[in-house]
Subunit: 274 residues, 2 copies
């Protein structure tokens, strides 16, 4: 996703430094004018706004807190983590950044590769509102539905709410389509009856047709969705909230991953019902 986001920032006129563990992945961007920085420390020292989108919370923790961005960024810099990650970690980075004279926002996204490429990401932002307003043009270069959600961690909480809604919906969509197929109906015809009404959802309209074609390519990886659901479930437990639908969806996706499905798209949950 980072590639599309960098490209949209350059298109909007920003000078962009780039760093990635695997330099070759940045080659095309460098050819187009992005400036390669060989280490996290270098990119931290030489940038006014530092934007990250990495894999797991442990990666976020590493690049920010282990001799990383927070230690090396210039006074007054703004740090923006767009990874889907732990709200608690976002709060911790916010505090440590503040102690070092830096600003920090958590700003996870939805909309996937396609949204990143065409600048149509939905961006959910937590942190200080004045900082959000200052860097808003940067978000506007990458996204369309940009909503300030509150104090540090609120962007992550919003994204987790998003993933919790998807988790339950995917159970419903897979079971509805599997039921239709098992009952001997033509599931494409069933979609004509049900997709536009009270059962309708983004997943039913966009992912069910892929399930029915046997197209399980990602899209959004099963392994990343499991990561998100794990963070959401931990966070819900910390808040004292029981989420049995989320727990079930996570368990089912883990079954799928154990059967070798972790690199499929999330619509591959349907395979458990075949």
């Amino acid at each position: 996703m980072g590639q599309g986001m960098v490209r949209n920032l350059m298109k909007a006129g920003y000078r962009v430094n780039v760093y990635n563990r695997t330099k070759s992945k940045a080659d095309a961007l460098i050819e187009d004018g992005a400036v390669w920085m060989p280490t996290i420390q270098d990119i931290s020292k030489n940038s006014d706004v530092i934007i990250t989108i990495v894999g797991y919370p442990k990666d976020v923790e590493q690049v920010y807190l282990e001799d990383g961005i927070v230690a090396h960024a210039k006074q007054g810099s703004t740090l923006i983590d767009m990874t889907t990650s732990s709200p608690k970690l976002a709060e911790r980075i916010y505090e440590e950044a503040k102690a070092n004279g830096l600003s920090s926002l958590d700003a996870p996204v939805s909309g996937g590769d396609v949204g990143a490429q065409n600048g149509k990401l939905s961006i959910m932002v937590g942190g200080d509102k004045n900082v959000f307003e200052t860097v808003r043009p940067i978000f506007e270069a990458m996204g369309q539905n940009i909503v300030y959600q509150g104090q540090a961690g609120s962007g992550q909480h919003t994204k987790l709410s998003n993933q919790i809604a998807i988790a339950g919906t995917m159970l419903g969509v897979c079971e509805a389509i599997a039921y239709a197929a098992k009952a001997g109906l033509d599931p494409d015809q069933v979609l004509k009856s049900i997709a536009a009404g009270a059962a309708g959802s983004f997943s039913l309209s966009n992912l069910a047709p892929r399930m029915l074609k046997g197209d399980f390519a990602p899209g959004f990886y099963v392994k990343h969705f499991i990561k998100d659901m794990r963070i959401a479930l931990e966070s819900a437990e910390e808040l004292g909230l029981l989420t049995p639908g989320l727990a079930l969806a996570k368990k089912r996706y883990e079954e799928l991953a154990e059967q070798g499905g972790e690199n499929f798209g999330t619509q591959a949950l349907y395979k458990l019902y075949l």
Copy 2:
């Protein structure tokens, strides 16, 4: 729902006989020109097309098979059950109707009271295709999205697929909104971030705002949704399909009913998370 449907049939020019256990509920229709029939036997003998929408499969069985419509309808009549009911029962009525020289369709609907009133029901039809084509104008008087789904029982199977999709989606929507509230976010603001993207659904857009206002009025009754999920789960089991998401949703709604929530709308599932 029957009232809105009868009114739309009369508006389309059909002469409509009506029967209901509680005559007073039909009074307004009778004033507007519907003809009251005092018994099921009377309405069966005196109508060319007999349309039913009742409560539970046992009610369907009673009005059709226990000295009811199948025994008393005129040769050549068409029977249309629009109740959400058991696919197996629809097949049985189809067979018994056929043996008596009658035609039968199962044609459950979605769209609720409002859809019934404004003639915008989605109608899912099972039975013989030529019979469907013959009575299609009758469906067109009541609905907008009218889809023939296949042999007897297919309309019911399609409606159950619809309810299965809703069941999972409602788990996701309730847990997502409960999580947002518990995390201290403004859930209405969260909806701005998530309702239009990959987490989007009819339920998230239409029912989550009611949950947040504490508006638990039906809409679609909890007790009726439990009935539908029970039929769906039994039917899935008969087909050898495991539907753990549906099973969980049914269990949660039964908890809600045990707590006195059976006459609320389905959005009241949210109360379990408060």
